[in-house]
């Protein structure tokens, strides 16, 4: 299963892109039951492409909530365009997902 959920919605000629990513977003400061630090594991960069052109990218730290949610408003956007959202985290894991605007 992909870690990315994308919802698109047409709003007055613009397109709202909402995304929810499943990710622990550990900042390295929390402790587990044995009182050891949980190693940092968070997304470093997330970027959105519209028809394979990068439109927005976000660099972030561990101070974004667990399972991060973002929404963006794209100017224009037609039905059938592709939206791609990708992320990469500090452990080198990454994921990417395509979605058609409905």
């Amino acid at each position: 299963m992909s870690s990315i959920k994308i919802r698109t919605k047409r709003l007055n000629g613009n397109t709202q892109i909402r995304t929810l990513i499943t990710h622990p977003m550990e900042n390295g400061r929390n402790r587990d039951e044995q009182n050891n630090f949980i190693p940092a594991h968070h997304i470093l960069e997330l970027w959105v492409e519209h028809n394979h052109v990068k439109i927005i990218s976000c660099n972030m730290a561990g101070s974004i909530s667990k399972n991060p949610y973002f929404d963006f408003l794209l100017k224009g956007g037609e039905i059938g365009d592709t939206v791609t959202i990708s992320w990469i985290d500090n452990l080198g894991q990454s994921d990417s997902k395509n979605q058609l605007i409905k």
């Binding site: 613009n14 977003m25 900042n27 400061r29 929390n30 402790r31 470093l44 960069e45 519209h50 052109v53 990068k54 439109i55 927005i56 990218s57 976000c58 660099n59 972030m60 730290a61 561990g62 101070s63 974004i64 909530s65 667990k66 991060p68 949610y69 973002f70 929404d71 963006f72 408003l73 794209l74 100017k75 224009g76 990469i88 500090n90 080198g92 990454s94």
Partner: protein, 158 residues
Amino acid sequence: MIKSRRQFITKTLALGTYGITITTGILHSPIVAAKWLKQRFILSDYDETIAHLFNGETLIDNHNKIKISRLPRIAENGAVVPIKISSHFEKITKIYILVKNNPHPLSAEFEISPAIEAEVSARLKMAKTSEVVVIVEADGKYYRRLKKVKVSIGGCGG
């Protein structure tokens, strides 16, 4: 086996290009880029972060073209604090979100292309009661807006 001088030259050239491809491949891999980016996110002092990011540029305070919504005045849970930023500036290139009293103040940095209507939202973690600072870079100028959020339960460990 290498028989002639010509063959030797072509083979060395081929190997050379291969080597270059490998090295540039490593240099351009997203991991290296990401590690380099991380630098400003690990600064632990608000003023230091501001100095590092803006290099002494003047920040224009409390501009009413920046709108912060969804941000609660009192957040019951610091682990999930929603924020929505919209702005009517022309030529917005970047939006920064900082939380003053967090161990690492810089939370997120959005790089925006003209294809985006300047409206983003996200969810933050807040360690304790603090001011949330939004800085918008538009046309080479920086605009700042602050909003205070009271946090009842901490979100960043503890």
